[in-house]
């Protein structure tokens, strides 16, 4: 049990990575309306927010946007045009460095639906999703 799983758990996460060019994202200075359209068109609940240098800055989600436009009486859609993504995003994205192990990723995925992967220089490399972790675990158990 210990030896064969140990080498897998210490294995590298790079094989489960969704590379940055396949990750839907928006920029910090986009209007909130643009972020909601990207979220609706892609169907994703949440996506990364990058700055103009493609550095990771946060996460924006349908939940955060709807929370910010729900007024006392109704959904105040005019806010979509007056707010920017940076005004409401979660500025504390879950980050894992590319040299971390599969076990580190598994632990973090308990609390996050996806992880943002960076290299040593802090460059955004892509994301690791719960479905890819679950697919890998299912494969381990099938061995």
């Amino acid at each position: 049990l210990q030896s064969s799983f140990h080498s897998i758990l210490k294995g590298n996460i790079i094989k489960c990575l969704i590379p940055v060019d396949e990750v839907a994202n928006v920029q910090t200075d986009n209007p909130l309306e643009h972020a909601l359209l990207v979220l609706v068109k892609t169907g994703y609940s949440a996506i990364p927010v990058l700055d103009q240098m493609y550095r990771l800055k946060g996460i924006i989600s349908k939940t955060i946007i709807l929370d910010n436009i729900l007024g006392l009486e109704r959904f105040e859609f005019e806010h979509l045009r007056s707010y920017k993504v940076a005004d409401v995003m979660n500025a504390n994205p879950p980050i894992l460095r590319i040299d971390h192990t599969f076990q580190d990723a598994l632990k973090m995925c308990i609390h996050h639906t996806f992880l943002c992967i960076e290299n040593h220089d802090g460059e955004f490399m892509g994301i690791l999703t719960r479905s890819s972790i679950l697919r890998y675990v299912n494969h381990l158990f099938a061995i």
Copy 2:
């Protein structure tokens, strides 16, 4: 590897279940606006839809609601009051029977963020979430 994991994989899922009285849900005949308010207030992306006999009928999500109110030019919020949950919900919820094994749940969770659990009589017993599966797997590896 085989023997100790085998008994765990065949283990029962009941210990990871969120019981029905702790599951946010709406009813088939609720207006869509009510469903969006429940989703926003609870913070959940998607929740089960039950009929008046508390039988499982579908899943409603922020994604489905936003998809249905996005018109050509803008978000048509007036539709929230004219549609019912049953009109737009996903009427094919992922269902797992309570006597299924942990391995069955793991396989299904690759494609669904949560599973709806029913007993032999088709009564809705609660849900099984990806986070509870991941928490359990992480615990297995820590042994």
